[in-house]
């Protein structure tokens, strides 16, 4: 193994601290005994206990989860359809326009998406609440699913669908039993992406929410304006923990699959 030179080591440390120092500080201070965020008063988990008593934060967390789950699920379905259209139908009339319109929300500033959705809801006289936040989140996370699914389909062997048709399977059943299972990992990662995007969205949710539909990021933001409390640190730590667990789990599953596959292929090669 190659040894790190001193220069490499220092730049590595600088880089990582740039990325993770703020988060580490946040986590450490969530275990602070003192009520003052910047003064260390010894280790304690009392803020976590206090968190469990805070109905406002618990409600907000529940709203966030609901919105994230529903919007990610709907976006996964719609995004899959869009991704399939883009990769399957070749060069139809208006394809460039269509793909441009699908990808636009990825580069559009959140403020503009939020504002335009707000204007639309107002114009249509829709009562703002959980439903409108969900619709807004579907709108902007759909394109991420479409991109993931489309890139998976680009390496998809179309002849396996033809083989299914050839063996007497109807087109609808072919999609359900052949295409969908093969692209399912892509749909799942699209769903996860949409879920996380919805989970941490503040701007669009602020525009489209109504009374009684405060999401967790909104709650945290509004509390921070009154001053950062160790309680907020605790919530944030939990969020970070959840996301980190998800990422680790996903990469563990991926790695195991890759390893299994490699072993299988080695076995197959020896059989020849």
């Amino acid at each position: 193994m190659k040894q790190f030179s001193r220069f490499n080591l220092i730049s590595l440390l600088l880089g990582f601290s740039f990325l993770y120092l703020p988060i580490i500080i946040l986590i450490i201070f969530s275990f602070n005994e003192s009520k003052l965020v910047t003064v260390w008063g010894g280790w304690s988990t009392k803020w976590y206990a206090e968190l469990l008593q805070n109905q406002g934060i618990k409600d907000a967390a529940w709203v966030t989860l609901k919105v994230a789950f529903i919007s990610a699920s709907v976006a996964a379905v719609l995004g899959t359809i869009a991704g399939m259209t883009l990769s399957r139908f070749g060069r139809f009339r208006g394809r460039t326009l269509f793909s441009g319109m699908i990808y636009a929300p990825m580069v559009m500033p959140d403020v503009i998406i939020g504002l335009s959705l707000l204007l639309m809801f107002v114009a249509l006289a829709v009562d703002r609440g959980i439903a409108t936040i969900t619709i807004a989140h579907i709108t902007f996370s759909l394109c991420y699913v479409a991109v993931v699914v489309q890139s998976r389909l680009s390496s998809f062997d179309d002849s396996i669908e033809e083989a299914a048709l050839d063996l007497g399977c109807t087109p609808a059943k072919t999609f359900l039993f052949i295409t969908l299972p093969v692209i399912f990992p892509a749909v799942i990662s699209g769903w996860l992406l949409a879920f996380t995007l919805s989970l941490d969205d503040l701007v669009i949710a602020s525009f489209t929410s109504g009374p009684g539909s405060t999401t967790l990021p909104m709650k945290i933001y509004s509390q921070v304006r009154l001053g950062v409390t160790p309680e907020i640190n605790a919530v944030s730590t939990i969020l970070v923990g959840l996301v980190a667990c998800g990422v680790l789990l996903a990469s563990y599953i991926n790695r195991r699959q890759a390893k299994q596959r490699q072993a299988d292929e080695q076995m197959a090669a020896q059989a020849d």
Partner: protein
Amino acid sequence: MHENKEFYPWLDAKQKPYIQIERVTKKFGDFVAIDNLSLDIYRNEFFALLGPSGCGKTTLLRMLAGFEKPTEGRILLDGEDVSSVPPHQRLVNMMFQSYALFPHMTVEKNIGFGLKQDKVPAAQIKKRVDDMLELVQLGQFARRKPHQLSGGQRQRVALARSLIKQPKLLLLDEPLGALDKKLREQTQFELMNLQEELGITFMIVTHDQEEAMTVSSRIGLMINGDLEQVATPSELYETPKSRFVAEFIGDVNLLEGRYDGSGEFGLTMVCKESDSAIQSTQRLDVAHGTTIWAAIRPEKLEISKQRPEGTPNVLKGKVWDIGYGGSFSTYHVHLPNGKAMTAVRANRERSLEKSITWEDDVYLSWAPKSAVILTD
């Protein structure tokens, strides 16, 4: 071992063709992939479609499977017009070039998939899958997924999957393309045996002429969306219809000349490579001076240091190169005007000393019946 030797249904006027392709044209936009093609195939035939890439052979196969619809003309299967029947309702199965195995299903499930679509009872599916696994010798791999198999095993799973419904016609799209040479040759014979055993009509698409000659009862040679010649492998090799066919199938020496009357044997041809007229037993009904070609296969050319007796067709040349191929040697001979000729001689005697070597002056000769005279 091969009953194909006495199998010539296309010569029997009473035989009804099993698959009839009637004046089929297929256009993709302005591009004509298949151009007014007609072809009859008989029950139990092993028919090979051969041709350079882009000649339309795969398009024709896909039309038979139902993935493409003919722009004009129609396709009849066992007397029934299937031109607009979708693929999942046709009694035709296809083995794909990429094998197209379902990656998320085991070997067993892959093979049984077709029967499951037909709502065959599970117990029966199990039995037929087991039989099929035995036929292709994959019994112990039933529970594996496709990526756990070698190339040759995948190929056999794909074959089993396309055979299990006992289709009226099995289409094979370059089925052996992904295998190495040794495995390919072995599999060719397996395919032939299987086809005889099951009595299913096979149609194979390939660009490998050796493969087509080995496995098939008849070959259709395609060029530019139409059939150039349909014949048995030996007919195609020994009596090609045109220079394209002669050059596509095997190696050939072509001499261009002019028709010069019927002569002593059948016809004579004058050409600039030979001092005396070339004689052939073939007869032609063309005008004097018409451009014709003599096609001579390399193994039908005699090569000798002394001027040979007994044949009027002799060319003089110099050995340019010798390719030693083990069982045979290939001699590249240059004629005085620079034209290159190829002669192949079997190495019957085990001798390391060659009687003919580089730079030798040699005579190339052939019997009047050995060359094919072509007008196209």
